[in-house]
């Protein structure tokens, strides 16, 4: 591409944040190691140099206090962007998230705004063990009052971050470590894409058909989208033309785009790195089934994480993770029945 400007998700998140900080002096960033270190996942790199330590604030390891503080600051007119280093740590501070951040707008009858972004990393595949590899999308998306964003590439990451910061509602921005473009985590190349320098926003609640197809709809989010695209390539070799849908935001969820795609293809596979049961995959399947069961010409399939804690050892972790081959097998299984 001419004038191509390939950015990693890490850089595109930092760029969007910097642009929003220039636009609005009320935007500031808090979290562990987001200052001089630039964030363990690089998404605040360069910010402290430009904005200083008053607006780029390293915190103690006190997630309950500083996420609660973000809510208080947001209600007082600031626009905090706050980082929970790994989503796995949500258990030490979830009250401040799901019961406070997510509910104060409602409890106040809309009189309080809570314009804040909680960004957090997720995802495994690099042997970081069971307390540092989860995605936990379903847990956040299940509980009302917060928007949930999961970008699959740098272009979306930037536009969704700008939208998140400008939103007067709390937004949980869940980025996947393997897409972050940090070499040390092994990087999905497909996430590092052309990203314009100028500001832009991407609306929430609009899934994107990242590959059109006619035979089966593969629905995913984050890294799942890349698994879906790779599976689509493999399926193509077998003469199967898959459509791949990137949900982009889980709340709001663009059910129409998914439904219309399945209506067209008649077949549905949902990919998710989150634990299988009571989560995203069930929701997508139910969304189609309840709307019109006849849209499904075969039993829909899911390729998700089994209901086990995440094992450390490489062969076991690989076994458990979703991958393109599993998606291809799911298609075969669906057609067998």
């Amino acid at each position: 591409m001419e004038n191509e400007r390939k950015l990693t998700i890490a850089r595109s998140m930092a760029e969007a944040t910097a642009q929003e900080m220039r636009r609005d002096e009320n935007v500031f960033v808090m979290g562990e190691d987001i200052g001089q270190l630039g964030g363990v996942y690089g998404n605040t790199r360069g910010l402290i140099e430009e904005f200083g330590s008053k607006r780029i604030r390293d915190t103690p390891i006190s997630e309950t206090a500083f996420i609660g503080a973000a809510v208080g600051a947001a209600q007082d007119g600031m626009r905090p962007v706050v980082e929970l280093m790994f989503v796995d740590f949500f258990g030490v501070c979830f009250d401040a998230i799901y019961n406070l951040m997510a509910k104060n707008i409602y409890f106040s009858g809309g009189k309080f705004k809570v314009p804040m972004v909680l960004m957090t990393s997720g995802g495994g595949g690099y042997s970081d063990g069971g307390q540092h590899s989860q995605v936990l999308y379903g847990t956040f998306a299940h509980l009302p009052g917060m928007k949930v964003v999961c970008p699959s590439n740098a272009y979306d990451a930037k536009g969704l971050m700008a939208t998140a910061i400008r939103d007067d509602n709390p937004v949980v921005y869940m980025y996947h470590k393997s897409l972050q473009g940090m070499g040390w985590l092994g990087t999905e190349q497909g996430a590092t894409v052309h990203t314009p320098e100028e500001e832009y926003t991407i609306p929430f609640g609009e899934a994107k058909i990242v590959k059109e197809g006619s035979d089966v709809t593969i629905v995913g989010v984050g890294l799942g989208v890349h698994n879906g695209l790779k599976a689509a390539k493999l399926l193509e070799e077998k003469g199967v033309n898959a459509e791949v849908v990137d949900l982009r935001t889980l709340v709001p969820l663009d059910r129409d785009t998914v439904f219309n795609s399945v209506k067209k293809t008649g077949h549905l596979i949902v990919v998710d790195e989150d634990y299988q049961s009571y989560g995203l995959t069930g929701e997508i399947i139910a969304t189609i089934a309840e709307r019109d069961i006849t849209a499904l010409k075969a039993s829909p399939q899911r390729v998700a994480y089994p209901d086990i804690p995440i094992p450390f050892s490489r062969p076991m972790e690989r076994f458990a993770l979703p991958n393109p081959e599993k998606i291809v097998n799911a298609y075969a299984k669906m057609k067998e029945q």
Binding site: I67, N104, G109
Partner: protein, 328 residues
């Protein structure tokens, strides 16, 4: 920092409004709940935590506050809300679950929110501490001299959020005051059975922060100490922890049989009712006469009556309004 006569009068009036409000709650709450007590019934359903006896804690602090100052309150919030200047009618309507309530009935008694006077509360123990720290951070970043106050019970002190919030406030030298209303009970569990120190004010040392203890539910002593703390906070000198020895004159919530109270405790506490003591003080000091007291009392009662009437007469929200205001 001693209160002027005006301030003392304001404090007393405010305490009266608060007490009358709770007395109204007590009566109305039981409507529809006899002969069988069922929390789901009556004009005010759900849990109801009354603040009778704890009024000094609220007025002693809030006497120093302006509307832009932020208060985060507890599950026992009425006295705190009233002292902060939350609109009494709108609050009453909220507690009745009416459309005219502060939040259109979405919040209820444990979720009193008033953006006009920057008041919020929560049903989760110690949940307000983080937000108070954040509001104080916001004030500091904006260069505004407003402060934040977080109220909590002595039981709440043993929640992790207390520790994290006080440390963060101290590290960042934020204009926030933490006020512990120590009524010596967390539901049925006594402070002695739950807390490793005799005085929570001591815990301020863990945060390099002043810790002040106010004995005997004394609104005047609290006014003094809170005044200094708030002045310090406005001047950029950082946070303070204040512990107030107070009394819970009601059950933990309405319906609590209080079998866990030692014999005679309630009588002893009631004999030290802060409303009576405040009245006596003001009369002894010549701040008010008996006549003025009658007027003040009647005015307070009227305010409460009008608020209750407003709440009673207001309409309920449409059921489907439940779906609104999830997002703004």
């Amino acid at each position: 920092m001693l209160p002027t006569s005006e301030k003392k009068k304001w404090m007393y009036e405010n305490m009266l409004v608060s007490r009358f409000f709770e007395e109204a709650m007590e009566t109305i709450y039981m409507e529809g709940k006899t002969p069988v007590f069922n929390m789901a019934e009556g004009p005010i359903p759900g849990e109801m935590h009354l603040s009778n006896g704890q009024e000094p804690c609220a007025v002693g602090v809030c006497a120093h506050l302006k509307p832009s100052d932020v208060v985060t309150a507890t599950h026992r919030p009425h006295h705190q809300a009233i002292a902060k200047g939350v609109d009494l009618k709108l609050m009453a309507a909220e507690i009745f679950g009416k459309k005219t309530g502060l939040s259109g009935g979405r919040g209820g008694h444990m979720h009193i929110f008033d953006a006009d006077v920057n008041f919020a509360c929560s049903g989760i123990i110690a949940q307000g501490l983080g937000p108070a720290v954040g509001a104080a951070l916001s004030k500091q970043m904006k260069g505004d001299d407003s402060v934040a106050v977080a109220f909590l019970g002595e039981g709440a002190v043993n929640q992790g959020a207390f520790h994290e919030s006080l440390n963060l406030a101290a590290v960042w030298k934020l204009p926030v005051i933490f006020v512990i209303e120590d009524n010596s009970w967390g539901i049925s569990v006594s402070k002695a059975d739950s807390t490793a120190v005799k005085h929570n004010a001591v815990r301020a040392q863990a945060y390099n922060m002043p810790g002040r203890f106010i004995a005997d539910n004394d609104p005047i002593a609290l006014y003094d100490v809170a005044g200094i703390a708030i002045e310090d906070a406005r001047a950029g000198k950082g946070p303070t922890l204040i512990e107030v020895e107070t009394t819970r004159l009601a059950g933990h919530f309405m319906g609590d049989a209080e079998g866990y109270r030692p014999d005679g405790e309630l009588d002893r506490l009631k004999s030290k009712d802060p409303i009576v003591r405040m009245k006596n003080l003001l009369i002894d000091e010549g701040v008010i006469t008996d006549d003025e007291n009658l007027q003040i009392t009647q005015k307070a009662q009227k305010l409460v009556d009008e608020a209750i009437e407003f709440a009673r007469e207001s309409d309920y929200p449409e059921p489907a309004e439940a779906l609104d205001k999830v997002f703004v």
